[in-house]
């Protein structure tokens, strides 16, 4: 599961404390081992990602201390 965006997630984890210190709640755009930029909204970060890299995987992650999993009560979701 983690092959795609694996490197980007490692980069986020490695830089998380620093990012929390300066941009808590904002959105980081990460490609490979680079934090490309910090943005106020996820859409701004995604647009910048498409603009710089095109239609390839990149990571847009909200900078938060604790990530809360998303909830799905429907039994249609098969995971």
């Amino acid at each position: 599961m983690d092959e795609i965006l694996g490197k980007e997630l490692e980069t986020y984890e490695a830089r998380k404390s620093e990012l929390l210190g300066k941009a808590k709640g904002k959105f980081a755009l990460i490609k490979d081992d680079q934090v490309v930029g910090i943005f106020d909204t996820d859409l701004d970060a995604i647009h910048q990602g498409y603009d710089r890299f095109g239609n390839v995987p990149f990571l847009v992650k909200q900078i938060v201390e604790l990530e809360v999993p998303m909830e799905f009560t429907s039994n249609l979701l098969g995971k």
């Binding site: 599961m1 983690d2 795609i4 965006l5 997630l9 996820d42 859409l43 995604i46 647009h47 990602g49 498409y50 603009d51 095109g54 239609n55 390839v56 995987p57 990149f58 990571l59 847009v60 992650k61 990530e67 999993p69 998303m70 909830e71 799905f72 009560t73 429907s74 039994n75 249609l76 979701l77 098969g78 995971k79």
Partner: protein, 142 residues
């Protein structure tokens, strides 16, 4: 205010379902167009309005048809398991009456063949959703 109302003959059994299309996001469409790359055709399917879903879900194989790459990853809890990683994609959802919403949806397997999408609270948060069980109809105002 754009809206649509649907009459479902047995709303209780079938649930609030609607035929929709999904397409690549606006900005990606511009980028593809600028690069003279063919823009993937929108994909049709049946969506269930699901107030129990934090975000919108697209069946994984339909994401592939749109040629999208992930722009994020989140963890989800379902009836069957917890903390399951799922990729996120920026998509446009095309509802009846020309209602178009851009959102960050997750790709995941959906059991059974009849539902291809779940419309979650990421979309509902900007709407008024009226479920009229007595009239077997539902309305969404955006």
């Amino acid at each position: 205010m754009p809206s649509f109302t649907l009459q479902i003959s047995n709303l209780k059994t079938v649930g609030p379902v609607v035929e929709i299309k999904i397409a690549v996001g606006n900005f990606l469409e511009e980028i593809l167009s600028r690069s003279r790359v063919k823009i993937p055709d929108p994909v049709n399917g049946l969506a269930m309005i699901d107030t129990g879903a934090t975000v919108t879900v697209v069946r994984e194989d339909l994401i592939k048809k749109l040629g999208l790459n992930p722009v994020g990853m989140v963890k989800i809890n379902t009836s069957y398991s917890t903390n399951v990683p799922c990729y996120e994609y920026l998509i446009r959802v095309l509802f009846p009456n020309n209602v178009i919403i851009e959102t960050r949806a997750i790709g995941a397997p959906l059991l059974g063949q009849h539902i291809q999408f779940l419309i979650g609270r990421d979309i509902l948060q900007n709407s008024v959703f009226i479920y009229n069980g007595q009239m077997n109809s539902f309305t969404i105002n955006f």
